[in-house]
């Protein structure tokens, strides 16, 4: 293979003479990372810094009778051993609810368990020492007496009258419930030629970021300020939460986020052990560092996707989908996670099922229940992989039932490309999607007819290959409708501040954060393009609440679409300011000038008038030479928040080609395709790599990843050897294709791309496996992950 330097610039309305929009510009921060010269939180050391390790409950549910820390406190190197009641004096508890998820309830959660531990792995005591090793030595000497309580683990019985209630104050184990009934569902099913029902199960899994969660908290008693080095996706959100629960003002808290070793939604939540670390720093008046080790990561990083969905589709002979119905049940652990809540995934599933299709009849029920397992919350593509797998699984089952090609059935039901704006049965508003163009693109990209012929031929030789599809929609660029309206102080807005330095280079401060997805590159491209310098001249600064504009950070595929637009607008604003300076120096009209490649030029002819470094020299050092009364403004700030649509929906379709060894039940992935439409593509390479990485996380869900618990709430495979993350050998090459339907809500027209891969891959792999096994009369597989055991059971071999 050959690495091509760049893709040819795509000419759009955004194209300026030196536009970087639509070009694969390498990310500016990569050399640092390839050389091992990044700065991750786990690398941070500070003077007087101590390390904390936590004693964690071995039980899923237990009363804490007492904790004796005397022996631990005498261990060499130990600075403090602190229990929940002591830390409660420094930090208040929190409750993870949002008012727009009506009826959602949860119990107060403290940084360290007080009185009761509610899942295996919940921290009950903190030991602070000179080194992590010494803290761990002392943890072994902390004596905790537990009285084991009955553990509620199975969501199916969580609401039964006989089942113990985890939080007595809540009355029952129901966290949240939602019902939806649109159109005439019963009538539609009754009039369908075929109705297919299936129960889909999704294995609880987790994000496994390569760098575990990490935080260094530094309370400076002299300044009365808390500085937190935090591997987070949302520094301003965390600033607010640290301040609120320490009882100090937000301006007393600074959150710094430099390099983050993977996030995927794992690092956008409030974790009790991280909050405790911050509280310990305040208590001990010194920096305290906590880096989760891998074993504690598995029992504390949020889990996701543990859903059981009974689902039903109606279809007529001509392939028209008549109705969808789902009943979702999910267990989310003992607390709704703060501040985004653990009701969002189920809520998304209700919103998204059936989303790509023209089908007016839809009924849904979702129940979210408490249980004594690790908490669940939002992980990459929240709800989408489930909603897509259920919808697409049903579509494939319906196609098989009426004997229609699965791609053809989709063609007959996907919302037409000329039907926009429109909305789904569940009420999702779609500005502009391109399902049919995407499908046609995929069809030719994968040579569908050719693959079908190959599949047929190989079946004769006892080789079972399958082709699977999954059309999808994805929520991106969320407005305040996502969290803000529910009372959470999570901004949907983002800002960019752009300034011209004294040598004509540009410095941008942005509220979005870099998690490796390339936000800094995208912001640099936007500013370079709208202002008019080479991208190498733009330096982007992220992740510092003292210095960056207020912003939401990175989640819900928002950094490029929202942060990029703010940067684009800020670059334009600064260009206007700089041209005003240039006009006054050159005694020209600003409208007759432009900035291109770092030079002020005549707009019409493009001839050079003034280099930016000369302009900066005059503006900064010889302002006396400028006309009286003229003040140069060489810094500009702009913010952007989506207002016209609650979300900028994207769409796409994935295809999977795989082979099932029908003797062993092993699946070999041969190839994967994804065609997506994220609107204007700012950087094609970054979009493709978001897709590829996301697809592999989705494949992980489909085939490998599963947090296995026993009935007592003990995690059985909480280590990297037994919890199977996808590794290089088993993963296929992944081809990406694009359709471009820009959003008109922003000038850039960019939507998000970070979660599309994860959204569609599990469903498409599932459908491919079932396609492979269909001629053998196997029971359709609907229980992820699809292990050899499940595949062989479907074939009746074990």
């Amino acid at each position: 293979m050959k690495i091509t330097d760049d893709s040819p610039p795509v000419l759009t309305a955004l194209d300026r003479p030196n536009s970087y929009i639509g070009r694969s510009v390498p990310r500016p921060n990569l050399q640092r990372l390839t050389q091992g010269r990044g700065l991750y939180v786990s690398d941070v050391t500070l003077p007087r810094m101590a390390h904390v390790a936590y004693v964690r409950s071995p039980h899923a549910h237990a009363r804490i009778v007492n904790i004796v820390t005397e022996a631990a406190k005498k261990t060499p190197g130990v600075i403090a051993a602190v229990i929940g009641a002591e830390l409660a004096k420094v930090m208040t508890p929190w409750v993870g609810v949002l008012t727009h998820l009506k009826g959602l309830k949860s119990a107060p959660q403290a940084p360290l368990a007080v009185e009761r531990a509610c899942w295996q792995g919940e921290a009950v005591c903190a030991v602070v020492a000179r080194t992590r090793a010494e803290a761990e030595d002392a943890c072994e000497l902390v004596e905790v007496r537990y009285e084991e309580l009955p553990a509620v683990t199975d969501p199916e019985i969580a609401l039964d009258a006989k089942t113990p209630v985890i939080h007595a104050s809540l009355g029952d184990n129901l966290c949240f419930e939602r019902k939806l009934d649109v159109g005439a569902v019963d009538k539609a099913f009754a009039e369908s030629d075929a109705v297919v029902e299936a129960t889909f199960r999704f294995g609880r899994h987790t994000g496994v970021t390569t760098e575990p969660r990490a935080v260094v908290a530094d309370w400076n008693e002299g300044e009365q300020r808390m500085t937190v080095y935090h591997g987070t996706q949302a520094p301003h959100m965390m600033q607010n939460l640290f301040a609120k629960h320490l009882g100090i003002a937000e301006h007393q808290v600074r959150v710094l986020t430099k390099d983050v070793g993977g996030s995927f939604g794992i690092k956008v939540h409030t974790y009790a052990d991280e909050m405790a670390t911050v509280a310990l720093s305040k208590l001990l008046k010194r920096p305290v560092k906590f880096v989760a080790d891998r074993i504690e990561s598995f029992v504390t990083d949020i889990h996701a996707r543990d859903h059981r969905i009974k689902a039903k589709i109606g279809v007529s002979k001509d392939g028209t989908i008549t109705a969808f119905e789902i009943d979702d049940l999910t267990g989310i652990g003992p607390y709704s996670v703060y501040p985004r809540t653990s009701g969002i995934e189920a809520n998304q599933i209700v919103n998204l099922v059936g989303g790509p299709y023209n089908c007016p009849n839809y009924r849904a029920q979702a129940r979210v229940v408490f249980q004594n397992k690790n908490v669940m919350c939002q992980y990459r593509a929240v709800g989408h992989p489930i909603a897509v797998a259920v919808t697409e699984g049903l579509v494939d089952l319906a196609a098989a039932k009426i004997g229609m090609d699965p791609l053809e059935l989709r063609r007959r039901n996907l919302i037409p490309d000329d039907a926009y704006p429109t909305q789904s049965a569940s009420g999702l508003k779609f500005e502009l999607l391109s399902h049919h163009e995407a499908l046609a693109h995929l069809d030719s990209m994968m040579n569908y007819a050719g693959l079908r012929a190959e599949q047929q031929k190989l079946r004769g030789k006892g080789v079972y290959r399958g082709i699977g599809f999954a059309s999808f929609i994805e929520v991106t660029n969320p407005s305040a409708a996502f969290y803000g309206v529910g009372g959470a102080r999570i901004t949907a807005m983002d800002g960019a501040t752009v300034k011209l330095d004294a040598q004509g280079a540009i410095i941008v401060h942005t509220g979005v954060t870099e998690q490796g997805q390339g936000a800094e590159a995208v912001v640099a491209q936007c500013v370079a393009s709208s202002f008019g310098v080479r991208v190498e001249k733009v330096r982007v600064i992220t992740g510092d609440t003292d210095n960056t504009p207020y912003g939401g950070g990175t989640w819900a595929s928002r950094a490029a679409g929202i942060g990029g637009e703010a940067a684009w607008q800020a670059g334009k604003a600064l260009r206007a300011n700089v041209l005003a300076v240039a006009a006054s120096i050159l005694q020209a009209k600003p409208d007759d000038l432009d900035i291109r490649n770092g030079l002020v030029v005549d707009k019409d002819k493009g001839t050079e008038r003034l280099p930016l470094d000369e302009l900066a020299r005059i503006a900064y050092f010889r302002p006396d030479t400028l006309p009286p009364g003229f003040q140069a403004e060489l810094m500009a700030t702009r913010h952007y928040v989506p207002r016209a649509w609650p979300f900028a929906f994207t769409n796409g379709i994935q295809g999977s080609y795989l082979e099932v060894d029908i003797e062993t039940g092993f699946v070999k992935l041969l190839k994967h395709w994804c065609v997506e439409d994220c609107g204007t593509i700012i950087n094609p390479q970054l979009v493709d790599e978001q897709i590829r990485g996301g697809v592999v996380q989705g494949i992980g869900a489909a085939l490998f990843e599963h947090c296995l618990y026993d009935e007592r709430g003990q995690l059985l495979n909480g280590n990297m050897a037994d919890y199977l993350v996808p590794m290089a050998v088993e993963m296929p090459d992944i081809e990406c294709g694009h359709v471009v339907s820009p959003t008109a809500d922003s000038e850039l027209g960019a939507k998000g791309a970070g979660e599309a891969g994860t959204a569609g891959a599990p469903g498409s792999v599932m459908n491919a496996i079932n396609d492979a096994l269909r001629p053998l009369g196997a029971q359709p597989l609907t229980d992820m992950p699809f292990t050899p055991d499940k595949i062989l059971r479907a074939l009746g071999k074990v």
Partner: protein, 163 residues
């Protein structure tokens, strides 16, 4: 027993290092904490993820599955050394150009493992061989495709340069 702390002498990235370490300290913790060479990363501490991959006496090893005391007398090389010597500059450039890293946490280990393959291969390795050699290095961001592309491109370029 009092053999819990020992004096060791070794070279790290060519420079002589003498230090006193706890016997229980792993090589990667020694590199990161005592020598502040934070390019080697800690991902699992039980030998599965490969983020701590470094070279000891020319061979790649898991930095979390060797003790610092075992490296007495050894020559240890980390990503910082491999970068400064220029040995992996083509791999680094290819990773950057191909965006074969996102968060970058696995990257030092990945590049060190890739260089091990390319140093040993007499011919251009196939994509499957590249995947197999990197099978002990976990990347959660890229999905591996871009990494395989980057390593393959360097293998071809080096083979071309040898001709």
């Amino acid at each position: 027993m009092n053999d819990r702390t020992l004096d060791i002498s070794l070279t790290v990235n060519g420079a002589r290092v003498q230090d006193r370490v706890e016997a229980r300290k792993t090589l990667v913790d020694f590199l990161r904490e005592d020598l502040a060479l934070t390019g080697s990363h800690v991902g699992c501490e039980h030998g599965v993820c490969g983020a701590c991959t470094v070279r000891v006496n020319g061979e790649i090893v898991r930095g979390c599955l060797m003790l610092a005391v075992q490296c007495d007398g050894a020559a240890v090389e980390t990503i910082e050394g491999l970068s400064d010597s220029g040995e992996v500059s083509d791999l680094q450039a290819a990773f950057e150009q191909r965006n074969a890293l996102q968060c970058g946490y696995c990257t030092p280990g990945m590049i060190t493992a890739a260089q091990d393959l390319l140093r040993r291969s007499k011919k251009v390795p196939s994509r499957d061989e590249i995947r197999e050699h990197l099978s002990g290095n976990y990347c959660r961001c890229t999905g591996y495709h871009a990494i395989v592309d980057a390593v393959e491109a360097v293998a071809q370029a080096r083979a071309g340069a040898r001709k």
